[in-house]
Symmetry: C2
Subunit: 247 residues, 2 copies
């Protein structure tokens, strides 16, 4: 059996109609006319932290989403099995509307916090952003750059480190906004934060359209993602699975 013919109709119903009727004037935008969103990758980042928000934010009208790292090229995740390409080096980027700093495992987070080139770049870029954001332990990296005030969130297992190191209150929400800084909780919380951010950047209706575009109607088969209600045993298991996968 060969591949099915696909020419008679479009795979996505309604896509042809959209193309035929064009974009209403109010939302007709060319790529690059919308927000410039930069995501900082560094060795050992956790894969979903940047890619979840990137998926959603890339659907904002006219948005550009750029993966940035100390040097251009592939950047390894915490498992060392996967890489995402950095399309630009930090030396090539000094102006962003949105900066997003993802989280990592222990090793990657500490290395980023102690890397003056990354920390100095984050501070410099932050001066002109509209929003400076983080996912998971990325908030600790914002903390290392001196950008946290009052309250923030982070990965559940890093809450006490956040409070004792940076003197900010840990808030166990999916995302926490203080001024122009938005921190998200662990890994998957970046997706919820991205929807909130999309609404701030382009309005609630566009954010709702993006939610439908990525069919984000979550129904996990278990209800075990909240550390506040997890047993000590499950917390140990979660950290063990992370540690083992990051060896």
């Amino acid at each position: 059996m060969r591949s099915q013919p696909t020419t008679r109709r479009t795979v996505l119903a309604g896509m042809a109609a959209v193309a035929a009727f064009g974009i209403p004037a109010g939302t007709a935008v060319a790529e690059g006319s919308g927000p410039r969103i930069g995501i900082l990758l560094y060795d050992g980042f956790s894969l979903l932290d940047p890619t979840g928000p990137a998926e959603l934010l890339s659907r904002l009208p006219g948005a550009t989403v750029t993966m940035i790292a100390e040097r251009r090229g592939p950047v390894r995740t915490d498992t060392r099995q996967t890489s995402v390409m950095a399309e630009r080096s930090i030396a090539e980027v000094d102006r962003l509307d949105v900066l997003l700093v993802p989280g990592a495992g222990e090793r990657g987070t500490v290395a980023a916090m102690e890397n003056p080139a990354l920390i100095d770049w984050i501070r410099r870029v932050d001066r002109r952003t509209t929003w400076t954001t983080s996912v998971c332990t990325g908030s600790l990296i914002l903390g290392a750059a001196g950008l946290l005030r009052d309250r923030a969130t982070t990965y559940w297992a890093s809450a006490s480190y956040l409070e004792s190191t940076f003197g900010v209150k840990y808030v166990p929400e999916r995302y926490v906004q203080v001024g122009k800084v938005i921190t998200a909780a662990g890994v998957s919380a970046g997706i919820d934060m991205a929807l909130f951010l999309a609404a701030r950047l382009a309005g609630d209706e566009i954010a709702r359209g993006i939610q439908l575009a990525v069919e984000y109607d979550p129904h996990p088969p278990f209800d075990s993602g909240n550390a506040a209600t997890a047993s000590p045993e499950l917390k140990k298991l979660a950290l063990r699975l992370l540690a083992e996968s990051q060896k």
Copy 2:
């Protein structure tokens, strides 16, 4: 201000204890001793489709998660702004425990369905998988390979295409299992499907541990991700945002 010192305590509370006490015999596994999971990338894939499941499945004890494409190297997403590295070419991989085929926009999906090298490889690898899975329009690619039976899910806007082209019933669930084939709904549904799959591969307790490891306790700020309850206007907007971002 320089970076904060990070040497006195660990960023992730409990991580040191986990390392010190070691892994109980029941879950002590070396990388590569668990499931071999392969994710097929192709030009124009949607970023979250492979990366959401990869994040979760990479925490399975001993798992290897390998990004695979027709050729090794960077593979562009549907927006053409981001690339994920394919670590292996299809010629290098003929045995997987889990195959995952992500979705793409109109152009990427059709090109993959009509690419005999990809379709033949999917068919060949499927013969020995434990699970053959898809996210979003990836199910149409499984359909092109002749692997769908009875029921499946797909991206909401592709439901009628799925039914009319492959003669299977579209089921509007987050994921649908028929035999060893599991199809997930659009984009973000791959995360829910990955938890279900993790439970099948390693048991409910490990799946719950993974859910906590990625803090997957979703609370989106809107409730607009379900096509069954979305207005026609919102559906049009969602498809327009997709079409614009994929130009």
